[in-house]
Symmetry: C2
Subunit: 207 residues, 2 copies
Amino acid sequence: MIFSSSLLENAVNEFARLPGIGKKTALRLVLHLLKQDETEVERFSEAIATMRREIRFCKKCHNISDRELCNTCSNSMRKQQIICVVESIRDVIAIESTQQFNGVYHVLGGIISPLDGIGPEQLNIDSLVKRVTEEKTEEIIFALNPNIQGDTTVYYIGRKLQGLPVRITTIARGIAFGGELEYADEMTLAKSISNRIPVEQYISSVQ
Amino acid sequence: MIFSSSLLENAVNEFARLPGIGKKTALRLVLHLLKQDETEVERFSEAIATMRREIRFCKKCHNISDRELCNTCSNSMRKQQIICVVESIRDVIAIESTQQFNGVYHVLGGIISPLDGIGPEQLNIDSLVKRVTEEKTEEIIFALNPNIQGDTTVYYIGRKLQGLPVRITTIARGIAFGGELEYADEMTLAKSISNRIPVEQYISSVQ
């Protein structure tokens, strides 16, 4: 693409760096912004820069947060003794959208996947074990994607928590094996939370 | 979607305003930016704000420009006597990318389309006629999308230019009827410029 303006070219190139955005889509987005009021574009640009600059990760659950502790961890109305363990922030958003879960979260920041070179030490597992020990957690609900990596992670953390007086469950397999948690519809996801089963029962049903 | 952070929510909502970007895609893009260095995100945000704030439209051809006159109109190496008339800035970029055209442009800013309420008075047609009269233009090449609206616009402007000593041509119909100029491959577009035909011949071939 050859541009008549370097300002335009810059903006298009910046958009085209985003995942799944090609040059033509980038151009379409930039020309759309060009038609908007200057204040609206200012707001767009500011929202992104501010988000990156000021966002933090909750020191307890590693979820995205505006403060040191996220809205969920600092909310006394939520059952702090029930921790839902998820792979990523997106999964928190997906579960929150079902409005069926009243506990708190723990974001692992990934999943054990030796093929991708991701081992347990790169994930927020130690802080989870510490949390369960210190806070007298009653229940851990695993809400990981139902695939080999998810099962491995459940198994690994399950072993780490052995001996602690905590009930360990996993969301029901309402989601098809190999599916992605993030794209599940809210009904299925809500059902899989309310129908959660003890992890021993889950593992034996897989084998 | 329920967010744990209003900063995140703002950024996602701003992205989701863009055409063709839904909430889930917006979230994916924002989480991608969140993983980038702060300086990179600053650069992204700045490129967009600066573009909107500082970009101008060439006072001669109405193309996007960094200055009062665009790179093409102020370039003495380009044939200022050959004007390629296009619907939008995207078409200029598409034609420039073929590197086959050495004249200048005139961006109409749309196309005559009574059904969409777009009449000739909303387009940059008067400035084109003025330009042709004052600059002793030798040739006008219409490079409009080959559909009813494009044909109407060619016909309307052709009438306006009647009597002026200018050759009026249109790019060859290398592009299928109903197709979009913007998405044509560069070879087809390049060929359709070099095989341009006089507008009288074009109109009679359509009828």
